[in-house]
Symmetry: C2
Subunit: 135 residues, 2 copies
DNA sequence: TGTACCTATTGACAAATTGCACATATGGTG
DNA sequence: CACCATATGTGCAATTTGTCAATAGGTACA
């Protein structure tokens, strides 16, 4: 497990649960969830577990913040939903711009996956080479 | 291609070249290169192209900084090499701790890869579902 | 000798991301 | 009313990373 100088910012790890490794990964995750079904922040926090975020890992404030940023960017829109009990909820939908943005994200992630594969293959190849050297 | 609010920090994109998407990815890349062959910063900058870093993408100062940090962490050691022409070079080698750290990194990256696969599969599945809905 | 250029390292600053702590508001239950 | 679950938000500090500038040795060439 990877240990880092504790406390602070992104991609952090303190022992125990795996951190997120991909920069701004929350963004495409939220877009993908919203594309499947319009929803509000509080609800999305739990839904993120589908992408490997351990429950309780993602702070709600981070999700809210990103949703507002995406609205400023034009990738989602929102309306207040005052029906039902409890405080009003801000319900988000993905815009066509958001769809295109998500598609670009997916292209990027595919490329990132290839990069990862290259790295791991490099590691494995080198590992076996040095083992045969030692033997 | 992914457009971000221009100017600034990591994982940035301004049109054209793909940015790095994995947090602190430079770290395992340098370790892997050094494990293959002890080297100095200036040399490593170019060697990074093997991992998909476009030439000129990674600023030398970023590499030097990370090397010093890894030395503080105990994952590499260095000596000055005054032989040869030009200014002295600081040559780095990977320590056993660095080996273990790299192995942990690889485990993490494998997990990240699976996470990526899950995400992309989710996207593809949903995409086909909404297409059949629209049809 | 001067100066221009390549190699090599380092330091300083600014911008972006994110975890954490805290503040606020609604409605239901005892 | 007190208390809790729901729901959204603000502010701050730590960390990461890109950019730019500074320093310094060595070589080539007029």
């Amino acid at each position: 497990m990877i240990q880092r100088r504790r406390r602070g910012r992104g991609g952090e790890f303190d022992g125990g649960v795996l951190p997120r490794r991909i920069a701004r990964f929350l963004e495409p995750c939220l877009l993908l969830l919203l594309r499947g079904d319009a929803s509000h922040g509080y609800n999305l926090v739990d839904a993120l577990s589908q992408f490997g975020f351990a429950p309780g890992t993602v702070d709600a404030s981070v999700v809210y913040r990103m949703l507002r940023e995406m609205e400023v960017g034009g990738w989602v829109t929102s309306q207040w939903d005052t029906a039902g009990s409890g405080p009003p909820r801000r319900v988000y939908q993905v815009t066509p711009e958001g769809e295109a943005y998500l598609a670009a994200w997916v292209d990027d992630l595919r490329y990132t996956r290839e990069e990862l594969d290259r790295f791991i293959a490099f590691y494995v190849r080198q590992g076996t080479a040095s083992e045969s050297k030692q033997t």
